[in-house]
C-alpha cells in the first residue's frame, strides 16, 4: 500500500505537470475571446489616427482566425481542466493509500503534511474553477505551484510510512493539524490570484516587461483582487483556530504550557501577524490594494518559511521529522 501511494504520488505530479503544459498551451496558442479582441485591436489602434480606410479591411479579416484559435484554445483549456481534475483524484488516491498504509490520518510528518495541504489547495482551486470557469487562465500558475511544492515534497521531505510518536497520540492531532492543513492549502491557492492581480495590475498600468506580459490573459484585476481577499478571509479564521487556539490547547496538555516560543509557534505567530496586517491594509481605504496584496504574498512567504525553513534548519518541539524522543 505504501508503495502504491508513492507511485500514485509520482503519477499525480506528472498529471499536474501535464495539466500545466496544457494550460500553458492554451495560454500561448489558443486564446480567450479577449485575446481575439486584442489581436484585432492593434490594427485599429495603428490606423485610428490617420488612415481609417485601411482599418476596415483589417478588421474584416481579423475575425476568422480569432474564432479558429478560440475554438482550439477552448478545447485545450477544457482538456487542461479535465487533466487537473484527474490529477486531483490521483492526489486523493495517494493521500488515502498513504493513510491506509500507515493506519492513521496521513498528517504525521512534513511529507504527509505537504501532500495534504497541496491537496486542499488543489481541491479549493478546482471548486472555484467549476463555479467560475472564467478564471481558468490562472490554472497555469496554480499547477506550477502544485508541481513545485509536490516535487520539493517528494525530493526533500520524503519519509517512509511509520507510526506516530506518542506525543501525537491525541485527538488534538486531528483537529490541530487538519485545520492548519486546510488553512495553508487555502492560503496557497489565495497566493495565486494575489500574484496574478499584481501582474495584471502592472499590465493594466502599461508595464510590458516579462512578468507583467503574462497579465494579458488573466481575468480582470478587480476580480482577482476580490478572489484573493475572499480566500484569505476564509483561511484566516481557520488558521487562527488551528495554530493559535487548537495548537496551544494541545501544547498545554502535551508540553505543559500553551505557548512556549518554539520556532514553529513563533513563525505561525509571524504568519498570523502578517496576514492580519493584510486584512487591516485591505480594509483601509488609504492603503493601495497592490500594497495590501504584497502583504498577503509576504504572509505566504512566511508560511513557506515555517514549512521548509523551520522544519529543516531549526530544532524545536515540533520536530517530528526525526523519530525518537518525546
Amino acid at each position: 500500500m505504501a508503495e502504491l501511494s508513492n507511485q500514485l504520488m509520482a503519477v499525480t505530479v506528472l498529471a499536474y505537470l501535464a495539466a500545466m503544459v496544457l494550460y500553458a498551451a492554451e495560454y500561448a496558442f489558443g486564446s480567450q475571446s479577449r485575446i481575439g479582441r486584442a489581436a484585432a485591436r492593434p490594427a485599429r489602434q495603428l490606423v485610428g489616427a490617420g488612415a481609417p480606410v485601411t482599418s476596415t479591411p483589417s478588421l474584416d479579416q481579423a475575425p476568422p482566425p480569432v474564432v479558429a484559435s478560440d475554438k482550439r484554445g477552448e478545447i485545450i483549456g477544457r482538456a487542461a481542466v479535465a487533466l487537473n481534475i484527474l490529477a486531483l483524484l490521483l492526489h486523493l488516491g495517494a493521500l488515502v493509500t498513504r493513510g491506509i498504509a500507515a493506519d492513521r490520518m496521513p498528517w504525521g510528518n512534513m511529507y504527509e503534511y505537504i501532500l495534504s495541504a497541496t491537496f486542499v489547495g488543489s481541491a479549493v482551486w478546482v471548486g472555484v474553477l467549476l463555479r467560475r470557469p472564467a478564471i481558468r487562465h490562472i490554472g497555469l500558475f496554480v499547477s506550477l505551484a502544485l508541481v513545485l511544492l509536490l516535487g520539493a515534497d517528494g525530493m526533500i521531505a520524503y519519509t517512509p510510512v511509520g507510526p506516530l510518536v506518542p506525543a501525537l497520540h491525541s485527538y488534538w492531532f486531528v483537529i490541530h493539524v487538519s485545520t492548519i492543513i486546510l488553512a495553508s492549502g487555502i492560503f496557497l491557492i489565495g497566493a495565486v490570484p494575489a500574484t496574478m492581480f499584481l501582474i495584471r495590475d502592472g499590465y493594466d498600468k502599461g508595464k510590458r516587461r516579462f512578468p507583467y506580459s503574462l497579465g494579458r490573459n488573466t481575468p480582470e484585476a478587480a476580480v482577482l483582487e476580490r478572489l484573493t481577499f475572499r480566500l484569505h478571509a476564509f483561511a484566516f479564521p481557520l488558521f487562527t483556530f488551528g495554530a493559535l487556539i487548537a495548537g496551544p490547547i494541545w501544547a498545554e496538555a502535551s508540553w505543559g504550557r500553551y505557548w512556549g516560543w518554539d520556532p514553529k509557534e513563533v513563525w505561525a505567530l509571524i504568519s498570523w501577524i502578517v496576514y492580519a496586517a493584510y486584512l487591516h491594509a485591505r480594509a483601509t481605504p488609504s492603503v493601495k490594494r497592490t500594497v495590501a496584496t504584497w502583504i498577503a504574498l509576504l504572509g505566504f512567504a512566511t508560511m513557506l518559511m515555517n514549512l521548509f525553513g523551520v522544519n529543516l534548519f531549526f530544532s524545536g518541539f515540533h520536530s517530528y521529522a526525526n523519530a525518537g524522543g518525546m
Partner: protein, 535 residues
C-alpha cells in the same frame, strides 16, 4: 495718528490663543500612534522582532542550548546577550513594540466602541434626496396604497428580514423607510480587539502569578518528591509568587511503562504515581504524554523519561554507600550519560575526618541495549542487553567550593588541575547489572541495577482559562467581522399626484458599506418583495 494713540490702543481682537505646545505634541503623537498606518508598521515590526527568537536559542526555552551557543560562538554570544538575543520575548525592545501596538489598538477601538454604541442607539439616518444616485436603486413602482400604507408594509418586509427599520413622514406627504443591517460586523470587530486585550492581560497575569518547576522522579518509594521549592531540579516562580504559595502534594513514581516499535521509535508511555494531596489519603493515578495529571493548583506533565543507575560503593574501610543517579538520554535510543559522586567516603573511622583526596566519582554512559557492532551508542531504547561503561576518578570532587555545577558531569576544572585523577585508564570499564568492579585501591563498585525515571514538568498558570476564553471570543469576533456585511436600504413612498388621490410611487436605493458580492441579489429580492405586496 499719534504715538500716544498707537501705544494706548488695546488690540481689538485678542490674538488667537496659542495651543499649548506640549499638549499639541502629545495630541498629535497620540493621533499618529492610533492611525492605521502606524498600527500596520507596528504589526510588521512585531513580526520582524519575533524572528531572532526563532534563530537564536532562547534561555526560557532551552538554557542548555544557550550555553552551547556560548561555546560555539564565544565572541558573538556576549554581544547577543547585551542585545537581548537570548531572551527576545522578554526584552525591552520586544515589549516596547507590543505595548505600543496595544496602546495604538486601545486608542483605535475605544472611539470606535463609543461610535458603535451611539450607532446602535441612534435611528438609521433618513433617505438621501436622490435614491437613484446610490450604487443600487430601483425604478419607480406604482402602488394603489396610500404612501403611509405602502411604507408601513415595506417596513414590515424589512423588519422580517431583521433590518433595523425606521419610518419617517415628511411635510410633502411622502414617507421614507430607512433600514440598516449588519451591525454585528462592527460588534465582532470590537469583540475581536477587546479579546486580544484580554489575552494580553491574561498572559501578563499568568506570568506574574504562575510558577513552574521540573523534576526528575525516579521510581521507588525511597525517591518520593514533595512540592517544595528545594525539591525541584529547576524552578521559576512568577514575581508575585512566594515559595510558601506552592500547593501541598507529594508524588512517588510506582511504575513507568514504555513501549517501542521494532525500529526503536516510541509507541507509548505511561507513568503511574502515588499522590498525596495535603492530609488526604494516597491515591494511585496514571498519566501520559498528552494527558497530564491535574491536581489542585498544579498540573503534572510527563515530558520525558530515562534510566537511573543504582551504584553501591564499598570504601577502603568497608563502609558502603548506595546512590541512585539518573542518567540523561542523549539520543532516541537512550544512550544515557551521567555521573555518580561519592564525596563522603573513605572516612577514617579513627579520625572521623574526610580526606579530600580520597573522594570518588564515576562518569560514563549507560546503554540499555549494547549493539553488536561495538559502537558506544545504544541500539534500542528498551533494556535488552544493558551495560554501563564507567571511568573512575579519585581526588577532590570540588563540591565544597560552593559554585553550582552540573550534577550530570564531573567538575572539569578539578580534572584539569589534577586534583581529580582518572584511576581506571583511558578505556571505560564495562559493567553488566550485578557486576562488581574492584578499583586499584581495593575499593569496590557494584552496579546494582537500573530504575526508570520520569521527567516531570509541574506547572500552575492561573489565567490560562481566561486566555483561552479570550482567544475563543476573539475568533468569534473575527468571524463576525470578516463575514458580516453592513448595508443600508431606503424606500421612499411618494404620493403619485399632488392632490393625493391615494396612489403611491415607490422607489428604493441600497448602499452596501463593505465590498459585498451578494448585495445585488439581496437588494433585488427586497425590491421584489416590496413589489409583490402592491395591490
Amino acid at each position: 495718528m499719534t504715538v500716544v494713540e498707537d501705544r494706548e490702543a488695546p488690540p481689538a481682537v485678542p490674538p488667537p490663543r496659542r495651543p499649548n505646545r506640549v499638549w499639541a505634541l502629545l495630541r498629535n503623537s497620540w493621533r499618529q500612534l492610533t492611525s492605521m498606518r502606524t498600527a500596520l508598521v507596528l504589526l510588521f515590526l512585531l513580526a520582524v522582532a519575533a524572528i531572532p527568537g526563532s534563530v537564536f536559542p532562547q534561555r526560557a526555552v532551552d538554557a542548555q542550548r544557550v550555553t552551547a551557543y556560548y561555546q560555539a560562538h564565544p565572541s558573538l554570544a556576549p554581544w547577543l546577550e547585551r542585545l537581548g538575543g537570548f531572551e527576545v520575548y522578554g526584552s525591552p525592545w520586544f515589549a516596547s513594540i507590543y505595548l505600543l501596538l496595544f496602546a495604538s489598538l486601545i486608542g483605535c477601538v475605544l472611539p470606535r466602541l463609543r461610535d458603535h454604541a451611539r450607532a446602535l442607539r441612534q435611528a438609521v439616518p433618513d433617505a438621501p434626496k436622490r435614491l437613484d444616485r446610490l450604487p443600487f436603486s430601483s425604478p419607480e413602482l406604482a402602488s394603489g396604497e396610500t404612501p403611509a400604507e405602502a411604507s408601513s408594509r415595506v417596513a414590515t418586509v424589512l423588519r422580517r428580514q431583521r433590518f433595523r427599520t425606521r419610518v419617517r413622514e415628511h411635510e410633502d406627504g411622502s414617507f421614507s423607510v430607512s433600514a440598516e443591517k449588519g451591525y454585528l460586523k462592527e460588534t465582532g470587530n470590537l469583540l475581536f480587539h477587546f479579546a486580544l486585550l484580554a489575552v494580553l492581560v491574561g498572559v501578563g497575569f499568568g506570568h506574574w502569578y504562575g510558577w513552574h518547576g521540573n523534576r526528575i522522579l525516579v521510581a521507588g518509594s525511597d525517591q518520593g518528591f514533595c512540592d517544595l521549592l528545594s525539591q525541584y531540579d529547576d524552578s521559576t516562580l512568577g514575581p508575585r509568587v512566594d515559595a510558601a504559595d506552592l500547593p501541598d502534594f507529594c508524588l512517588k513514581l510506582t511504575n513507568f511503562r514504555a513501549a517501542y516499535e521494532s525500529t526503536g521509535q516510541p509507541k507509548s508511555f505511561a507513568a503511574t504515581v502515588s499522590v498525596t494531596e495535603g492530609d488526604g489519603p494516597a491515591k494511585t493515578r496514571t498519566f501520559t504524554v498528552n494527558d497530564p495529571m491535574r491536581l489542585h493548583g498544579a498540573n503534572v506533565h510527563l515530558i520525558g523519561h530515562g534510566y537511573a543507575v543504582t551504584l553501591r560503593y564499598t570504601d577502603r574501610y568497608g563502609d558502603t554507600q548506595t546512590k541512585v543517579v539518573p542518567f540523561l538520554p542523549i539520543d532516541g535510543m537512550f544512550t544515557s550519560e551521567g555521573v555518580a559522586q561519592f564525596p563522603d567516603v573513605n572516612i577514617d573511622p579513627k579520625t572521623n575526618k574526610r580526606d579530600p583526596t580520597l573522594q570518588v566519582g564515576f562518569e560514563g554512559r549507560y546503554l540499555p541495549t549494547v549493539g553488536t557492532d561495538g559502537s558506544a551508542t545504544s541500539a534500542y531504547p528498551a533494556e535488552n542487553a544493558p551495560a554501563l561503561f564507567l571511568t573512575a576518578y579519585r581526588g577532590d570532587l570540588g563540591l565544597d567550593v560552593g559554585t553550582p555545577g552540573s550534577v550530570y558531569a564531573l567538575d572539569q576544572g578539578q580534572i584539569a588541575t589534577g586534583d581529580l585523577k582518572n584511576v581506571s585508564g583511558a578505556r571505560p570499564h564495562e559493567l553488566k547489572p550485578g557486576d562488581s568492579w574492584t578499583l586499584d585501591d581495593g575499593t569496590k563498585l557494584e552496579f546494582v541495577g537500573t530504575r526508570p525515571y520520569a521527567t516531570l514538568s509541574i506547572r500552575y498558570d492561573p489565567t490560562q482559562t481566561l486566555v483561552l476564553a479570550g482567544a475563543a471570543l476573539g475568533l468569534l469576533g473575527l468571524m463576525l467581522s470578516l463575514f458580516g456585511h453592513r448595508r443600508r436600504v431606503w424606500f421612499r413612498a411618494l404620493p403619485d399626484s399632488p392632490e393625493g388621490s391615494g396612489g403611491t410611487l415607490l422607489t428604493a436605493g441600497g448602499l452596501p458599506r463593505t465590498d459585498q458580492p451578494g448585495f445585488a441579489d439581496e437588494f433585488a429580492q427586497l425590491v421584489k418583495a416590496a413589489e409583490e405586496g402592491t395591490p
